[in-house]
C-alpha cells in the first residue's frame, strides 16, 4: 500500500481481527493468503465486464483515468483486449484460490484477492480484485479491480 497523503497509518492493516473497526466491519488480513477458507460459492462468482469497460479501463471516466493508464502502461490492457484481463481474474477467483483479506460488516462480506496477471506486453503484475457478497445473498460479485502499485 502506498502510504502517501491519504494518511493511512501503519496500523491500517492488521494481521488479526481489527478491533477498532468492529462497530462496522471486522477484518481478517493476511498478505500471505494463509486464510484457510475460500470465498463461498466462488465457482459462481460474477465478474461483470461493465466494471472494466465503464470504469477500470475507461479513459473517459474522470475517476478512472489513472487506473486505465496504469493497466495500459503496466500490462498492455485496454478496452479493446479487456476480455483476457477479465478471464484471468475470473479464472483465478472461480478456481478456488484464497483471498488475502476478508472483511465482514453488518451489510455483507468482501473478499480481496491479489492476482498475478500476465499482460499482452509480456509483463506480469499483481491485480487487486474485490468481490462482495451482500448479507442474505450467496453470489459473490466483483465490485472493483486495480493494478497494485504503479
Amino acid at each position: 500500500m502506498n502510504g502517501s497523503n491519504s494518511g493511512q497509518s501503519n496500523n491500517a492493516k492488521g494481521s488479526q481481527i481489527n478491533i477498532e473497526q468492529s462497530e462496522l466491519e471486522a477484518t481478517v488480513n493476511n498478505n500471505n493468503s494463509s486464510i484457510s477458507s475460500t470465498m463461498p460459492n466462488c465457482t459462481n462468482a460474477s465478474t461483470p465486464k461493465e466494471k472494466f469497460i465503464n470504469y477500470s479501463l475507461d479513459y473517459s471516466n474522470p475517476n478512472a483515468k489513472g487506473k486505465a493508464e496504469a493497466y495500459e502502461k503496466g500490462l498492455g490492457y485496454t478496452k479493446d483486449n479487456a476480455a483476457e484481463l477479465i478471464k484471468q481474474i475470473h479464472d483465478f477467483v472461480t478456481g478456488g484460490n484464497k483471498p488475502y483479506e476478508i472483511s465482514q460488516s453488518e451489510y455483507g462480506t468482501k473478499y480481496k484477492f491479489r492476482i498475478p496477471v500476465r499482460g499482452p506486453n509480456g509483463k506480469t503484475k499483481n491485480v487487486i480484485a474485490v468481490y462482495q457478497i451482500d448479507k442474505g445473498s450467496s453470489i459473490p460479485r466483483l465490485i472493483t479491480n486495480y493494478m497494485e502499485g504503479k
Partner: protein, 61 residues
C-alpha cells in the same frame, strides 16, 4: 451519490483519515452503506473500505 461518484470521507476509518478521497464502487442492498475505493494523492487506488452513506460527501468535478 451513485456508483462511481467521487467522494470525500467525513470520518477516520481503517487508518484512512477524514478527508480522504475515493470513488464509490458498490452499494449494499441491505442498508445505507457502500464500498469506497480510497485513493492516494496521485489518484491511485490503495484500498477498498466500507462506509455508511452519511460518512461521505460527494465531490463534484
Amino acid at each position: 451519490m451513485k456508483e462511481y461518484s467521487r467522494v470525500r470521507t467525513l470520518v477516520e476509518k481503517n487508518g484512512f483519515p477524514a478527508n480522504s478521497i475515493g470513488v464509490i464502487v458498490s452499494f449494499y442492498g441491505t442498508g445505507p452503506a457502500c464500498e469506497v475505493e480510497i485513493w492516494d494523492k496521485d489518484m491511485n487506488p490503495v484500498d477498498v473500505i466500507t462506509y455508511k452513506l452519511d460518512e461521505l460527501e460527494e465531490v463534484h468535478i
